[in-house]
Every structure is written in C-alpha cells, then in structure tokens.
C-alpha cells in the first residue's frame, strides 16, 4: 500500500538566514529517512579571515549569523586572548556578558515565536516577537545597531554601557520577565501543547553523546554541558546562575529548557548591571605572538568553537570556525526518522537551526503522480493536527 514519497524542504527562501535542504523520505505518513544538504550559503569566511588582520576578523565573524551575531566574535576574542594571553579589564567582561545574555533572550524569543507558528499558535508567534522588540531597542541604545552590535574587540569591548542606559534596560527586562511568565504558563499548562510536543523528536542521552550535540539540544536530553559554567569566560564565574537540564529529550523538553534559560539570562543581566565595576573597557593589545589559541562561547544554540593560529604576523594563518548547528542539525537524522510528516516541521525546528523557516517545501511522489505541494502545506498539516487535538 504505502509508496515512498520524497518531501524536499528548502534550500532557498528570502526569510531564511541559512539555506539548508532537508530531503524527507516518507512512507505513507511516516518519515523513513532524511538527507541533509548544506553549503548553499558557504561564503569561505575561514579563508577570508586569513587575509584580514586580527582586529578586522571580529567584524567578519560577526557576519556569520544574524541572530547570534555576538557569539562568534565572543568566541574569536576568547581564542585570540588565549593565544596572546591578554588580560581583559573587569568592566569589559561584564559588558560582554550582558550583551551575550541579551542576545540569548532575543534569540530564544525568536525561536519560541517560530515554534508557536509551526504548531498553529500564531498568537504565541506575534507576542514572542512583540516582546523581542524592546530588547532590540536596548541593543540600538547601547551599540547603535539592532542586530550587528560590533561590541567585541580583542582586549575588551568597543562601547561602554553608560549609566543612563541602565534604567531603560532594567525596565525592558521587567517587561520581558512578565512576558516569559506568560509564555511559561502558555506552554506548561496547555494540554494541546503537551499532546503535540511530548514524546516527539526524541533524542536520548546516549544519542546526544554519540552525535556530540551541544547547547539546549544536549541539555534537553540530560547532557549536563554549558560552556559558560564548564570553562568560564566573560563574567559568568562572578555571577550566581544555574544550568537548566531536562531529561526527556523531546521537543517539549527543548522548549522548556529554552523558556527557563530566559529566566537565567534575565538573572545574569540584572546581577551584571548591579555588580559591574567602574574602569577601563579595553586593554592595550600589542603584537599577537606566534602560537595557537582556542576560544569557545555558549551561543543561544550551543557551543561556538574557534581555533586561531598565528605565525607572528598581524593576520591569522588559520582560523577554524564551528557553529553549534553544525553538530545539532546532523542529529535530525535520529530525531526526525520515525515521526509522522505533521511532526517533522517542529522536530526539525526544535534544534533551533539557523534555518527555521520550512516554508519552501514540496511533496513529490517518487513513483507515479509527480504532484508538488506548496510549502505551506507542511505547516498547515502541522497546524491542523493541533486544531484537531484542540477540538477533542
């Protein structure tokens, strides 16, 4: 009865930050295999970095991602400071931490909105993105930009957080805290969301370790890792906060981890604002000596890893970049296989790949009627399932 169908997802859509192509092999309703094709947006940044001097590279790597645009420069400056053993002033460490946590907040809100949209909760989508706005305004106030903040530089930060910025920032945090309370209630208390997300797209502890996944994807499977705590950088070891762990490994656990992490981010920013010492915001950096350095940082999606090698000139001779989705997206092969098509969208989106938009989807019957469905059909399938559950 069942014939094999291929459902391609991607690769291009103007809304996506990173084009990827998921080819779902479907038998009846069940996903039987998945092929992941990446590289559509390969820009050769590692190669470009070899021709930029150490200060310029921070701006280049900032352009790797538009959502977590501070994590790459953060990991990069950690790597160069490790290489050249540069002491960074205290105040700069606190400012870096504040920026990184603000970014985590806005990134998790963005994901929550998209996840809500995929399962038919468009109100969550609108509200999550509405509460992201005051945060972006704060970014604009501090750095002049809503998205590419360009705060990191080797040896410190480029802009100070002035005293007059602190009251509006605290006000925005209060507002977001109330919003997160609301989202937490909306997710935790809604039986339909439980029915849609629990037991879906499970990645067990052993699988998470085997695929070496990172970030919320790992923490939702009970893998207790977080670079901020394990290898403290910035001001994370001067602050009181906890790592959020869930054991179930399903989409629901990943959602809960991200929601609870937003509380931790708010806690971290508030403490940083109160504890931030006065003083210099950057150290004087002399020549970078020959050698190698490794820096990593916990981006909203997981560990960002940078390796820099210098031969004593003013340019890195090799700069390796590994983004968290590189490890996480590959694990979709485990999480999505065996699911029904209507759950595929949310499962693929649950690792929060920089690719969240499954709009460009087509259904192709491999054998007979080569029918091609519009991309919205997959999202509609997913949303219809929620409506049916709600009626019950």
């Amino acid at each position: 009865m069942s014939h094999k169908v291929i459902i391609p997802i991607g690769p291009y859509h103007p809304l996506q930050e990173e084009p990827e192509f998921f080819k779902l092999f479907v038998e009846g309703e069940k996903v039987s295999d998945i092929e992941i094709v990446i590289g559509y947006n390969h820009r050769g940044i590692e190669k470009i970095c070899e021709s930029k001097h150490f200060d310029q590279v921070a701006f280049v790597v900032e352009r790797i991602c538009g959502i977590c645009s501070t994590s790459h420069p953060f990991a990069y400056v950690n790597a160069v400071e490790d290489l050249a053993q540069i002491e960074v002033p205290e105040r700069a460490l606190f400012i870096r931490t504040i920026i990184a946590e603000m970014e985590r907040l806005h990134s998790h809100l963005l994901w929550l909105g998209l996840a809500g949209h995929f399962i038919g909760y468009n109100t969550v989508w609108m509200w999550a993105w509405r509460y992201r706005e005051p945060l972006l305004d704060c970014f604009e106030m501090i750095s002049g930009n809503r998205n590419h903040y360009a705060m990191m530089k080797v040896g410190g930060v480029r802009r100070d957080i002035l005293d007059e910025y602190i009251p509006p920032l605290k006000k925005a945090l209060d507002e977001i805290n109330r919003a997160v309370d609301m989202f937490k209630g909306a997710v935790m208390d809604d039986p339909v969301i439980h029915a849609r997300l629990k037991g879906i797209g499970v990645l067990t502890y052993d699988q998470a370790v085997e695929w070496s996944v990172v970030g919320p994807t790992a923490r939702a499977s009970g893998v207790d890792i977080d670079v901020r705590r394990d290898d403290p950088y910035g001001a994370y070891n001067r602050i009181d906060w906890t790592v959020v762990i869930r054991k179930e490994g399903d989409v629901f656990a990943k959602t809960v981890v991200r929601i609870l992490e937003m509380y931790e981010s708010i806690r971290i920013i508030r403490q940083c604002l109160n504890k931030m010492p006065k003083g210099e915001i950057d150290a004087e950096v002399k020549d970078i000596p020959p050698g190698e350095g490794i820096g990593h940082a916990e981006a909203p999606r997981g560990e960002v890893f940078h390796y820099v090698r210098s031969d004593g000139t003013n340019r890195p001779i090799r700069h390796k970049v590994r983004a968290p989705s590189y490890m996480n997206v590959a694990s979709n092969k485990i999480a999505a296989v065996g699911q029904s098509i209507s759950d595929a969208t949310i499962t693929l989106a649950a690792v929060d790949p920089c690719y969240c938009c499954t709009e460009r989807v087509a259904v192709i019957d491999r054998f007979r009627n080569r029918k091609i469905l519009d991309g919205w059909d997959l999202i509609r399938l997913s949303q219809e399932k929620t409506y049916k559950l709600r009626k019950k």
């Binding site: 990446i38 590289g39 390969h42 050769g44 590692e46 190669k47 490790d82 053993q85 370790v209 085997e210 695929w211 070496s212 207790d224 890792i225 670079v227 394990d230 290898d231 403290p232 050698g291 190698e292 350095g293 490794i294 990593h296 560990e303 890893f305 390796y307 090698r309 001779i317 090799r318 390796k320 590994r322 590189y326 490890m327 590959a330 092969k333």
Partner: protein, 142 residues
C-alpha cells in the same frame, strides 16, 4: 574530579610524541597519524570526551589535522595534533566509523584540503557547490 590528563597519559603512554600545555585548560599533544583511529576511540568512547571539531591546514611539511576534544567536567580542551607527511596524496584513517559526529568535518576537510579519509562511509561534498572544479582545494596555500 577526574584527572583526565593523567588518565590520557596512562592510556596512551609512549604513543604521545609531544605534550604541551598552553595553560591548564588548553592541552595539545601530537601523535603518529597511523594511531589516530585507535586513539580517537580511547578518547571518545572509553574516556568519554566530547568531540568539538577538527582543524585541517596545509603546513610546509604536508598537512596537519588538529582534533579538538572537550572534557566538559573540567572545561579542558584536549587537542590531538597529527601530521600527514605527504603533499601529493594525503591520506588518513576516517573516524566516522567510530561515531557519526566525525562525518561532516571529514567531508569538509576532504573537499577543502583534498585529504582522503580512508574508510569514510559517505565521502562527498558538504559545503562546496556541485559545479566546483574537481581537484581544486580552496584551503590549500597555493
């Protein structure tokens, strides 16, 4: 807390060619390229290190690959360095048979540097375009 460094030294003994601690959290050591699969197995499976990534690069003597493993309980990054002393036909054992997490990075090093990973189950292009010319390796020095 587990002292992972003495465990590694205990298990690998004289197979470690050169041990270097940049600081207590950044450890590098070199090994012979023929030992890579066995050593990766010990580090990844037996000692439970997490594979972060690998850096491949061209050096004057040939090609160098640095495999970065992370021990998250202590925040240490242990980098295993190996040299492929062959400019024309670089080859090394694939680690993708140990775990799928090595698969993508080996495909990337294969297409970017032209290093052949022997035993890789699916050695095809990851990032480069389909119409990129054969035999051109973007991360080679010349």
């Amino acid at each position: 807390m587990r002292d992972i460094l003495s465990e590694i030294k205990e298990r690998l003994k004289d197979r470690i060619d050169n041990w270097y601690e940049h600081n207590p959290r950044r450890i590098y050591f070199s090994i012979d390229k023929n030992d890579i699969r066995e050593i990766a197995q010990i580090l990844f499976e037996d000692l439970g290190l997490r594979f972060a990534t690998a850096t491949g690069m061209e050096v004057p003597e040939g090609f160098e690959i640095v495999y970065h493993f992370s021990f998250d309980k202590s925040g240490q990054i242990i980098s295993v360095r190996t040299l492929i002393n062959n400019k024309n036909n670089p080859e090394i054992d694939s680690l993708a048979v140990i775990s799928p997490c090595f698969e993508w990075i080996e495909r990337e090093m294969w297409e970017m540097l032209g290093i052949n990973f022997v035993g890789h189950p699916n050695l095809k292009r990851l990032l480069l375009a389909e119409d990129w010319p054969e035999g051109k390796y973007p991360l080679r020095q010349r």
